[in-house]
Subunit: 587 residues, 2 copies
């Protein structure tokens, strides 16, 4: 196949689009792959469609190899099934909702668990028909608050979403593993580096969950990994719980004046100045207990204050907080919250006032109080004394205060221990390109998907859900594979196998280039042929570099002598090759 | 490729779905091609996807042959461009509208003229880059009032929409013809019978327009055609205008009593009884002038009454009325309308009262009055006298009354003359499967799409728009190709080339069937192999007939002797064929 640039719907741009922040967005627009239609919504040019189709084809092949059947659901779906599973509400503002002319509620589906469940309910009645795996490649919708970064975070995007259906937990594990293996094959074939990390199943309501992350600085996810093989999304990291310490023999709690200590740092300095420790060590931020006041609003709109006690050398990580309070909106308490709870003395909040519990549902404030898992019984803390300009030291957990529970939302740091004992973790940024879930029976229960088991009894089906962001992967690959002159596609998904450039005005050059294009094409090579007669070599070379076909063959002055120049964009090399040998490079 | 029914996501149904009215809907659901998700919204099962993909592939090949480039636009589009062309309002309730979290207006696109125009504006700047043709295959949305008939009239459906861009009218004509030719090739390859009829460009605002209709009784369109080659959608039919008649010598208008004449028939009988004609002929319905009162409501909500004078042997055809009053809602006047206009004496409405004009903007009522084109000057009519129980005869057009204009909305009848003189027309029902428009400059003007012409002057581009309903064609083909046992697909779009059925329990049969499947598959034949071990021959045969693969090969008892049975579903034949000769049938 020969595609001629003299007759192709393409326009390259010299300037980056004004709204583009990341390289993939800039380059995919500049090189004529996509065009913005609205915030987070893109139109696809012929070049972009070619790359997308190649990614989809690889996914289709591996889904078939994993025994999954392709189906296709509408984007426009009725409210009822999403109401039944609670997701109509849970999705909040991220769900595009609309009404039809009769006033019936619809949504543009962000994922399709509900309707796959219903279709299988409609079709499958016996365990004999399971396991079953279905998938689709489909355009999905999410009303992102700040759509940005081009295809990396769009409001309309293409996903492959697959769903598995099993009778037993072992069956689900096997189905999960089958998809996991398929994902590994897909990402390998696409040339995508990836890390599989444990993830929090979160809003999907399942149990086991892993993300496929592409390690990249601009990624929105943070993940941790140890040299010993542990890897988790930072939201799924769980701090190891230290052993409790003996309480006997610890000094009594001591309230002290602490004016002008608005920060943990100033509090530590002040404490070291006024209250030297007997053992000669200095107080550090890790000895303080920071009481973070959060306002948690449920889907029904109920606003509740929650105080979280965290060692002062860490912060509450709001992403981890969100996971800890599923289906809630969480934000720092505001002035009105403090005004409504005079027991909270801002800047001096602590568990106890004059020996009496303040925080906790049993405390005088009645406010729920949760502790970081590191705050085990017997640990002693410097913390607020619930009076203006007063803190308390030697406040011992389990002796002087207790809490309503434990919550692991403190920030994770380089060097923190992996929970599986595999050593200290390091942190990195990653971008989610795949996510697999053992959903379990949540959706099947909500929608009544049952089958007859071997004993003729009705049992609820257990499900898995498996997603790959097709358009996001394309952007991620662009992000990873470019230089300052343009894109450099991995071969598997390049829009063409070769970008053939004929330069100059010499008819012999064009004849030779035509002959080469024909020969390559006859050999099954997909040729993009820059045959534009009146375009300068400089512009042609610039376009070739920008477009990112990994191999460029330039037929120019040397053609008369039987030579071309072959560029390997990835390797950065340019080689003089006999025209007769060029087809062999693509064998 | 071998697809095994023992491991395929398919369930056939014995019963028709309750909501299905037409054969294609019933059969596509029963045979497991599609499943209803909401009114007019369907999910696609693997079988359905295969047929759809084959239709799309044929369209893609012919679009490429016609020089059109494939792109892809989002379904979710911002309001602004549709506002600029007026279509945001004009589409009325048929447009799905929604708001994003920031309150910005969006729509689910019913067609994409606006954004194609804007993309070309963004990319093309010179006449040298034209002509240009772009297309996409994409899911579209229309909020039909009564989605029915399955895929024939859905609210989410797949269309191929193409758009052409030219500098000159001649260029547009050539682009239009190129698409028209491509459509003829596409429909021929798909095995679809079609009639090309003139259509009214209507809401698209263009000039020339033709529809590709599939002649079928359940079609929603009526079209007329003459033996001499004229063909038009009934909305586009224009009655030939007769020559005016001499006014001199005609009898004077005569008012007469006409009690108990609520219908044209009773009026004609009564008139014949009380007012015999001098020439001995009888009065007929064609001698009466029926004054139809319509209420026309504009997009801005202004309601205006209009009276249309039509020969009494015809009715106002409301579909033709809609075309005559674009972007308006039209309905018969109601009691409140009559109450507000006492000049209209219901049952006795006519142009004149006591020699004075009642109807018409210059008349005493001030109501706009339009005439059928057959009511030329000199024609004499029996019509209402604007007094209770009184009619008037010998009322001569051009002598006794005039009107504000002409409107051709009367019903069209079998035997009416073709406007091009090619003889009488016959009427038939058809289903629109393609529609091509010369849009002209409406969209380019509204959205500012201009290019530099040969003289360096900015000129507005002229456009065409060309649509094919992909999912509708699939349903139409199902509608045309079935018998009482199931579907019978044309070969070009059948989901498989052969449906291979192994019957019984004899292992030899299954071995022979396996070997045949392998041989066929190796030869490039797409095999659907019913290898289900515990399913009775009767059920397998029933499924084979229902699914509609055009050739069924049954490997059963005769296999041991080296024979199979080959069914030609379309021809209705069943033949005993040597197993060794079966592959040759698919060569």
């Amino acid at each position: 196949m020969i595609t001629r640039l003299s007759n192709y719907f393409l326009k390259t741009l010299r300037e980056d689009p004004a709204d583009a922040e990341v390289a993939s967005h800039k380059l995919l627009v500049r090189a004529g792959y996509i065009r913005r239609q609205a915030p987070g919504v893109f139109g696809w040019m012929p070049l972009g469609l070619r790359v997308k189709a190649k990614i989809e084809q690889i996914i289709r092949e591996e889904m078939a190899a994993a025994g999954a059947h392709e189906v296709h659901f509408p984007a426009l779906l009725p409210r009822e099934p999403y109401e039944a599973t609670g997701r109509w509400e849970e999705y909040g503002d991220a769900l595009f909702r609309l009404r039809d002319r009769h006033g019936a509620d619809y949504l543009l589906a962000p994922t399709h668990e509900e309707v796959f469940t219903l279709m299988v309910k409609d079709i499958v009645s016996s365990y004999k028909e399971l396991p079953l795996a279905l998938y689709q490649i489909q355009d999905k919708y999410r009303d992102e608050a700040r759509p940005r970064a081009g295809l990396l975070r769009g409001r309309e995007f293409t996903m492959k979403d697959a769903y598995s259906f099993d009778v037993s937990d072992e069956g689900l594990s096997a189905s999960y593993q089958r998809q996991r293996d398929a994902y590994e094959r897909i990402f390998s074939r696409l040339g995508v580096e990836y890390v599989i990390v444990s993830a929090d199943a979160g809003a999907m309501g399942g149990s086991r969950s892993e993300e496929f992350l592409l390690p990249i600085e601009i990624g929105e996810d943070t993940f941790v990994r140890s040299a010993g093989g542990y890897a988790a999304n930072v939201e799924a990291y769980r701090a190891p719980v230290p052993e409790a310490l003996p309480i006997e023999g610890q000094p009594a709690a001591l309230v002290f004046d602490s004016p002008n200590t608005p920060t943990i740092d100033t509090l530590v300095s002040h404490t070291n100045a006024v209250l030297p420790r007997a053992d000669g060590r200095e107080w550090t931020a890790a000895d303080t207990l920071k009481c973070v006041v959060l306002a948690v609003t449920s889907l029904e709109g109920e606003r509740e204050l929650v105080v979280i006690g965290i060692p002062g050398d860490r912060d509450a990580d709001m992403k981890r907080v969100e996971v800890a309070f599923p289906n809630c909106a969480v934000e720092p308490a505001n002035e009105a919250d403090f005004a409504a709870h005079p027991a909270l003395v801002k800047g001096y909040i602590g568990p106890v006032l004059h020996g009496e519990a303040v925080l906790g549902t049993e405390g005088t404030s009645g406010i729920r109080f949760l502790l970081d898992p590191r705050v085990v019984d017997g640990t002693a803390w410097v913390t607020g004394a619930n009076e203006h300009e007063k803190h308390v030291a030697y406040l011992v957990a389990g002796r002087d205060f207790t809490a309503d529970g434990v919550v692991d939302v403190a920030s994770v740091r380089e060097g923190d221990p992996a929970p599986d004992g595999s050593g200290p973790v390091s942190l990195a940024r990653g971008m989610e390109i795949g996510h697999i879930f053992e959903l379990g029976r949540k959706y099947a229960e909500a929608l009544g998907l049952k089958v007859l088991d071997e004993n003729g009894k009705l049992v609820t089906v257990t499900m898995g859900s498996y997603g790959i962001g097709v358009t996001r992967i394309m952007a991620a690959l662009a992000e990873l594979n470019h230089d300052d002159r343009g894109l450099i596609w991995p071969r598997a998904i390049a829009p063409f196998d070769v970008h053939l450039v004929a330069t100059g005005k010499d008819p012999v050059v064009f004849e030779r280039a035509e002959a080469l294009a024909a020969e390559l094409s006859a050999g099954g090579v997909e040729v993009l042929f820059d045959d534009r007669p009146k375009v300068s070599p400089g512009v042609k070379f610039g376009d070739a570099e920008l477009l990112g076909v990994p191999r460029v063959v330039v037929v120019g002055r040397d053609a008369a002598e039987g030579f071309a120049e072959v560029w390997d964009r990835a390797g950065g090399t340019k080689e003089r090759v006999a025209l007769s040998e060029v087809p062999g490079l693509f064998a």
